[in-house]
Amino acid sequence: MNPASLCKTLADRFPQGVLGTHTFRGDATVTVRPEAMLEIARVLRDDPEFRMNFLMDLTAVDYLAFGKKPATGAFSNTGVAVRPPAEIGGKEAWPGRATGDRFEVVIHFFSLPLKHRLRIKVPVGGESPAVPSLTALWLAADWFEREVWDMYGIRFANHPNLKRLLMYDGFMGHPLRKDYPVNKRQPLVGPVN
């Protein structure tokens, strides 16, 4: 299926669950509600129309600082602001985000028999963001979700072993969040045995 019909089929099938679709730069993208995510993922995997047998990638984006950077580059020592070169306009503009939630869990699916790709985005916000886990459907979700928990602090409900993957136990905070300073230091820890 081509990107446009992928988006349309899914949106027609789940009018309640799908928040928005777009095909920016040829990538089929569907934004879905967290409650509907598990059901949609199951259909994507098992339905002969989709047959998404690969969970290629699962990650997240923190939209806290999105578009908040000043539009001019300023020299810190002189305060002179210089207008940067214009953005490179494309043929189509990005339609923007479906919701204003802080995080988006971004999942890339691939179907080996049908050779099509689909991106599912799940907006999630709040004090302790949480989405359902896909570990019951794809084994690959296990480590991907652990990494997202480690880096963004997004919980995955019903994950069998949700603990840090890249950082160590005792690390404070979630480093890929936009409010985590890039040069922050943490105390060294000894080996745990």
Binding site: R25, N53, P84, E87
Partner: protein
Amino acid sequence: MPETPTLDTKEMLINVGPSHPAMHGIIRIVARLDGEVIRGAEVEIGYLHRGFEKMSETVSYNGVMPYTDRLNYVSPLINNVGYCLAVEKLIGLTAPERCQYIRVIMSEISRITDHLTCVGASAMELGAFTVFLYMIKAREYLWEMVEAVTGARLTVSYCRIGGVKGDLPAGFEAQCRKALTETRAVLKEVDKLLSRNRIFVDRMKETGRISGEEAIAWGITGPFLRGSGVAYDVRKANPYLVYDRLEFEIPVGRHGDNLDRYYVRMAEMEQSMRIVEQALAKIPGGPVLVEPESGKPVDLEKMTPPAKPESLPVMPAAVMVDKGKRGRIHEIRDRLAQVDPTLGGYDAATERQVAAGEKRVSLPPKEDTYGNIEGLMNHFKLVMFGHGVRPPQGEAYFPVEGANGELGFYVVSDGSENPYRVRVRPPCFTIMGALPKLLIGDMMADLVPTFGSVNMIGGELDR
């Protein structure tokens, strides 16, 4: 008759790594053993985490390039290409045709070096030290090619958004063909040493088995998946660059064990060499620029500045910049800059071959940078702090076939000069996630070949 004493057996926990030679210093496996059989295993990663994704958010789009070198440090050129293609997709830009061929050639050379390292190192871990030395010798021939093109062996940073840093050096084709001949000879020797070697085959066969369906469920791609009989290759499934114009096959295994993965890697090196040879024969010479929409070559006569005649005198770029700084513009006018292709920047003739010709992305040729104010300002606008390439708001995912499998870059832009988010889908990450499954049921000694065939690369695994 005395009663035989009943001996107790109990399971034992054993730590393998992180400072264990077979674990490459950065992986810890806690294995639960029943005698010599592994009953359970837990894999711990993160010892080489450098915060690649966080760092990428603080630099310009071209500034991410050196970081991508350090992801898969055995085949850095493929990372360069993958990242560039993702950003170009986000911008909506196509690199010139010659540049696409150059990217294919360099990717395939990198793939061979990666497979050579993987097979050589895992053979060494099984005691076949000669093979390792032979393979490193072959890798040396190829790295010399990489060095001749990029100026570096490991930290290449060769690609630029919209093109590559410089053109192929003079005499590259002949040298490259010679290097491939040498590599073929080495592979033939190694094939004789390993493929029917009783010790090697016994240790590789039927260890670390995984079926095709299971491998797909674990998200495994690349030679590892193809060893299990699934013919998935991004170069065929979603062709990018000029792979659809080149002939090659996807070697697949049948049993999904370590031995099949070894055969797949050996066969893939031969296919990569085929690709390089075809690309060398097909690569368009001379200035070539294509229209992104129609794919037709641009008429160079209509371009500004017009193509300069070859007869103009040549001046080294270093001399040119000195004269330009002193205001001696009349001395550098109507001169062609001479730039070493392994250093940064290019002259006007090269620029039309390897850069996208989009002023807001590619650096101007050195003649313009030093010779006129427009070129200088263009250069300034791309390299100074607070300036640089600014893709429109949006997101794009681009998968390429890395040496270990699908290497995907997911880039989000908020319209500023720093990437908002750069996500790498590291190919060996999913394989490492499945490692406990591969190990359970095998003997302790089988851990070494299984781990070797994963081709774990710490740089891309931990980022």
